[in-house]
Symmetry: C2
Subunit: 198 residues, 2 copies
């Protein structure tokens, strides 16, 4: 089965609608999705940004919130603006990486919903614990795993891979042949490309 | 007839497919388009950018060129990468503003084609003169008009209006109620919104 890599960060706003919609769209195309959480902030830092560009450039930020609200309405996704923004996504990403790959999509969607639907602080251990418990997992064991050197190393390796592929934002679809599709608005186009529909 | 404002800069890459496609899409919706060329560079300068963000952030630039190439292929638009990039669009914008509003769309599409289809330097008087002559206009008279104080003032007024509306990039659709739609990928959505389809 052909697959496509889905790079996302829990702090990234347009990653939310993408994460909520991608599996259905991929299934319609007989396509498998590899969920690859990564720390977008470290790529931004290399560009000299110590904050989200949506905070650094206020007009762009105002536009993004309105556009995201319209986008969510369009796809019947609940939307609440996270406060503060951006949320610190480090622990959630590490936890996603500590999980078995098969549970990562479910966990990731639950984190996005906690953040953008229920207005919870995803940097909090308790938010993640509640999600893990809801998945019938041993929450404190998983969160302890998230602090293991192997997981920190995985986070670094994934970040390096993202940079090597030319990933500069999220969400980003990357096909087997290295074709990049940036943003929720390229979701269908990227999935089509991955299955040879150009 | 309902109308929508189409803000664009000849130096803006995604303004090209938007300019080539907007009139047909608007006509299908019984919508009038008001063509409003403006100097995006002066808005970028206020954000501290003295060059195109696509040059300042190389990964983003590489992505944009590939994405634009795919986009143009998708809509059967010829595509050649302008060199140098960005082109200096000041004279072309002033010339567009010096023209009667009714001739502005035709002139603007011809400038975009000169730049992205035929690889011409749009900063050159001769490129613009050829376009104007092709429109049965008195080229040197129009280009002289483009240097009039009234036209320079109009350029400034339009730039101020763009800032006031929150325009931070191009192309940008702005509806009567002040709703913004940024980018070629929001073209259909913005036109739909302008005619009340949400």
């Amino acid at each position: 089965m052909t697959s496509v890599d889905f790079w996302y960060d829990f702090a990234s706003t347009y990653s939310y609608p993408s994460a909520m919609r991608i599996e259905k769209l991929a299934a319609e195309r007989d396509l498998a999705v590899v969920w690859r959480p990564f720390l977008l902030g470290s790529i931004f830092a290399e560009q000299g940004w110590r904050n989200s560009p949506f905070n650094l450039f206020p007009n762009k930020g105002r536009y993004m919130w309105r556009d995201l609200e319209r986008t969510c309405a369009r796809y019947d996704l609940p939307f609440n603006r996270p406060d503060p923004f951006p949320q610190n996504s480090l622990l959630a990403i590490r936890t996603a990486l500590a999980l078995d790959e098969a549970r990562r999509p479910e966990f990731s969607r639950a984190v996005f919903r906690a953040e953008f639907e229920f207005g919870k602080a995803i940097a909090e251990r308790s938010t993640l614990a509640e999600i893990l418990t809801g998945m019938d997992l041993h929450a404190s064991a998983v969160i302890e795993d998230a602090a293991l050197p192997a997981v920190k190393q995985k986070l670094k390796t994934e970040g390096d891979a993202a940079k090597r592929l030319g990933v500069f934002g999220a969400p980003m679809l990357v096909t087997d042949e290295g074709e990049l599709f940036w943003g929720h608005d390229r979701l269908e186009e990227g999935l089509d490309w991955a299955v040879g529909r150009r």
